[in-house]
């Protein structure tokens, strides 16, 4: 999960990293802090300066007007509900600092660059692998442009705190851009991009960040509903990844890899998916039932594709039973063509059960038909249905 800047900065301060004095504003109000101030709309997308999310307020009387240009506005397709007001820290150099996990070294890596700021991707940077086994920080050197004094403060004072924060809080990304030093040499994190590892939730009872969408996107009703299915129930997963798309073929896919393969195959066959979602890891039938209802709640769909690979341990009978139970509860009764392509444990019983279902337009396929072939069948049936209705 990605954190908003103000949440990230709270974490940073609690580990001894200095951040500018700030105030979180959620409505038109007068701040306790004195101008000049910086107002920063709290959105998750990057490039916030370019998107117009950051305003400088010089005079007290301009504050409310500036705040109004941010609160309630949509920036990068995200609605702004929170604004962070901060004191200005005078500084010269700006540096980029991040800790993240790198798949090439298969471990944590520190990245440093001088002259950070908004265009950091274009700067030269240095990366250093960090051993998860070592007790002490690795030896690092300053990238070109990193002032000697600043670098000394960074290595002795800032870096050990960042490492502790990164590991102890199970972060997958800790990015400060920029890190600056004031005239007394005191460090400040002017921005914070922090991601926490959702897989580590079990050992962080204190985490209570409200649910949020991804950067640059406001979630649809269905996306919100799908995400709720897994909450508080760790048996398998259903709907944790759900996206509404523009097309007319509803997709109920199984398996991380198979769902991606199926989507690509459907598009290659000329079909237009109405959504992306998947269930996997042998979820109970109730989860599949809920996800089916969400997938079918979309208007204007001309087909439903229930697709997966030949599964290793997901109980095909149980999960398809959940699917049929949902189908029976949907009003009005779905008349659209439904193509099912599944295989795996208890698939014989599943297909026996499905063959007895006569009140829906089911097209049943097992492993004898490939995912790509069933995508073609689905596409044709959906086109036929669209022209007939």
């Amino acid at each position: 999960m990605i954190l908003y800047e103000f949440e990230g900065k709270e974490l940073l301060s609690s580990y001894g990293i200095n951040t500018p004095k700030g105030e979180v504003l959620r409505k038109a109000q007068t701040p306790r802090l004195k101008t000049p101030l910086i107002l920063k709309a709290q959105t998750l997308s990057g490039k916030r300066a370019e998107a117009g999310s950051i305003k400088k307020v010089e005079k007290e009387e301009d504050f409310k007007t500036s705040l109004k240009t941010l609160l309630g506005k949509k920036i990068n397709k995200e609605e702004v509900t929170t604004v962070l007001a901060e004191e200005i820290v005078d500084h010269d150099e700006e540096y980029y600092v991040s800790l993240s996990y790198d798949t090439a070294s298969r471990g944590p890596v520190l990245t440093l660059a001088a002259r950070g700021g908004t265009d950091v991707e274009k700067r030269e940077s240095l990366s250093f692998p960090v051993s998860p086994l070592a007790d002490t920080p690795p030896k690092i050197k300053a990238p070109a442009g990193f002032e000697k004094e600043d670098f000394e403060t960074f290595t002795s004072e800032v870096f050990p705190k960042l490492l502790k924060l990164f590991f102890d809080e199970d972060l997958t990304l800790l990015e400060i851009n920029p890190l600056v030093f004031d005239k007394d040499g005191k460090h400040f994190a002017l921005d914070a991009k922090v991601k926490i590892d959702d897989s580590a939730l079990a050992r962080h009872p204190a985490w209570d960040f409200p649910p949020r969408s991804v950067a640059g996107h406001t979630p649809t009703k269905r996306e919100v509903a799908a995400k709720k299915i897994d909450e508080g129930d760790h048996r398998g997963t259903a709907g944790s990844a759900y996206f509404d798309l523009e097309g007319d073929i509803a997709v109920l896919a199984s398996g991380g890899g198979a769902s991606l393969t199926a989507m690509d195959a459907l598009i290659a066959a000329g079909g237009k998916p109405a959504n992306y979602t998947e269930y996997s890891g042998n979820p109970p039938k109730e989860k599949v039932e809920k996800l089916t209802k969400i997938v079918l709640s979309k208007e204007g769909i001309n087909g439903l594709w229930v697709v997966g690979a030949v599964d290793n341990f997901t109980d095909i009978y149980e999960t398809l039973l959940g699917f049929i139970e949902a189908l029976r509860k949907v009003e009005p009764k779905p008349k659209l063509p439904i193509v099912i392509r599944r295989g795996g444990p208890r698939d014989k019983e599943a297909f026996e059960m499905l063959r007895k279902v006569k009140d829906f337009d089911l097209h049943l396929y097992g492993e004898e038909i490939s995912i790509a072939k069933s995508a073609e069948i689905m596409t044709k049936l959906a086109k036929k249905y669209a022209t007939s209705t």
Binding site: I2, Y101, T103, A104, R106, G107, P108, E121, S131, P132, L133, F167, D170, T172, D197, D198, S199, A200, A202, R203, V214, A215, G216, H217, A241, F243, S254, G255, G256, G257, A258, S259, L260, T261, M263, D264, A265, I267, A268, P273, Y276, E278, S280, G281, G308, A309, V310, D311, N312, F313, G343, G344, P345, E367, S370, I371, A372, K373
Partner: protein, 298 residues
């Protein structure tokens, strides 16, 4: 060593749990490789005729030296279970758990490197070799022969479901598998495509490899590097899934924990380009894979 020997003996950590006890008869039915189980507090019991011990130390003490451990331990306890196995000198661990915290995965990888051990996973569906009648993990469910007939193509896949799907695809075209491996779709994995490919170079049963990759990370990119630098000479056919995600917001996780595009990293189009440039056979659709492979192994 990732390619376990013909008569490999393994212990099963967490084998008495839900997934473990389902997979145990499946594994034993294919070939009797699991010689002991380990679950704290269940020592002295037996499951499917396999003796259960409280610790790895006790298990190894009773059954003698083993080739490794297959784990069915919950994700949050995986790190401790791997530590226990490696401390007892085991040189191979396969982790079945999904959603192991990234910090733990990175720690496990570093520890295995230090100890000279091989770790497969997290989120590995298992390994099967039909020639050696070796099956560990839930791969192929209760009937691996249905999808993995013996042959000379090795399957390496980030996705458990797609491992079986690819086996089936080969079977329908008259081909078969030497090894099928779920390497796991997590961000940090113990053994990637490249690690297996390097060992497969010396495997007599394998003539070519079929890999299933997807968006996220750089494990596919490494294969392109290894082919370019001639460290891998046997033919590699690759299928990369997730092209459709390029039109969706980035930094979204699709299914597997590692399936996420961050900035310019992990784009399926980049992986395909790099693999093509290196000389790998990149399939545009699953259905054309058998023909690509038949060309190179005839």
């Amino acid at each position: 060593m990732l390619l376990l020997p013909k008569n490999a003996k393994l212990i099963g950590q967490g084998i008495t749990g839900g997934e473990g006890s389902t997979a145990l008869p499946w594994m034993l039915g294919y070939g009797k490789r699991i010689v002991a189980g380990v679950t704290q507090g269940k020592g002295g019991q037996e499951l499917e005729g396999v003796p259960i011990f409280n610790t790895v130390k006790e298990a190894v003490g009773a059954v003698g030296e083993v080739d490794g451990s297959v784990q069915f331990v919950p994700p949050i306890h995986t790190k401790r279970a791997v530590e226990e196995a490696l401390e007892e000198g085991l040189k191979f661990v396969l982790i079945g758990a999904e959603k192991v915290p990234v910090r733990d995965s990175a720690y496990i990888y570093a520890l295995a490197e230090k100890k000279g051990a091989s770790v497969v996973g997290p989120a590995s569906v298992g390994i099967v070799n039909p020639h050696r009648r070796l099956k560990i993990g839930s791969i192929g469910g209760g009937d691996p022969d249905r999808v993995f007939p013996p042959g000379n193509v090795a399957i390496l896949s980030k996705s458990g479901g797609m491992t079986s799907e690819l086996g089936l695809l080969l079977k329908h075209s008259g081909l078969g598998v030497s090894w099928a491996v779920g390497i796991g779709g997590e961000r940090i994995i113990g053994s990637d495509f490249g690690d297996f490919l390097i060992e497969l170079e010396n495997d007599k049963d394998t003539k070519a490899t079929l890999m299933f990759g997807e968006l996220g990370g750089t494990y596919e990119d490494r294969v392109a590097d290894l082919i370019k630098t001639k460290k891998i000479k046997k033919p590699v056919a690759a299928f990369i899934a997730g092209e459709f995600t390029m039109n969706l917001p980035s930094e979204v996780q699709f299914g597997h924990a590692g399936a996420i595009i961050e900035g310019e990293r992990g784009l399926p189009s980049t992986k395909r380009r790099l693999l093509k440039e290196s000389g790998a056979l990149v399939a545009e659709s699953l259905d054309e894979i058998p023909d690509l492979l038949k060309e190179v192994i005839k």
